[in-house]
């Protein structure tokens, strides 16, 4: 889900619904919107022997 950050794009916090042809990557790179569905990095687990 893409959410608006900058008021230049719309109301901050609302879901961004792009028109056809809009370059989403450029908007994210410029900090105008954020992709809230972007995957978080997996947690690293260590294989420690159990007592």
């Amino acid at each position: 889900m893409i959410k608006i950050v900058s008021p230049r794009v719309g109301v901050p916090g609302e879901v961004f619904v792009p028109e056809e042809g809009v370059n989403i990557e450029a908007l994210i790179a410029g900090g105008f919107v954020v992709d809230t569905s972007a995957k978080k990095s997996a947690k690293t687990t260590t294989d420690e022997p159990k007592d």
Binding site: R8, E19, G21, N23, A29, G30
Partner: protein, 139 residues
């Protein structure tokens, strides 16, 4: 004297970003490339429409601040994007017959002046978008 005139004050977005407050000049032009269809038997020239080659040109004040001109354009060079423009700010949100909204979809930005500085002057840049599909909304 003209009975109806329009004091230039359009509103526009570039890649969905409203840059009206940075823009000092904007020209969107519908171009249908002329193809010569003249034939023997006539001394006149006749043309038919070939492909379209619409253009959008604008002049913007340059700003490197957050959510301003440079942030909008930096990642658009060499890519296609969408431009919207209307004679009025209201027309951009709610187009009408007297305030149409023109949309140029998938137009190409070939170049971006990174710095255009002159001593004692506000920095501004000129942009030219080429191609794309032009649509007009009146409602």
């Amino acid at each position: 004297m003209a009975t109806s005139t329009y004091l230039s004050n359009p509103a526009l977005t570039i890649n969905a970003v409203n840059l009206s407050d940075q823009c000092t000049s904007a020209v969107i032009t519908q171009v249908n490339t002329a193809q010569n269809a003249s034939t023997f038997g006539s001394t006149d020239s006749f043309y038919v429409s070939g492909t379209t080659n619409n253009t959008f040109e604008c002049e913007l004040f340059m700003s490197y601040a957050v959510s301003e001109t440079y942030a909008t354009l930096a990642a658009l060079v060499g890519t296609q994007t969408t431009i919207t423009i209307s004679p009025t700010a209201a027309g951009l949100a709610t187009p009408s017959a007297t305030a149409p909204k023109f949309t140029l979809t998938n137009c190409y930005l070939e170049s971006l002046p990174l710095i255009n500085a002159t001593l004692g002057e506000l920095s501004s840049i000129s942009l030219s978008f080429q191609g794309g599909t032009l649509t007009t909304a009146v409602s």
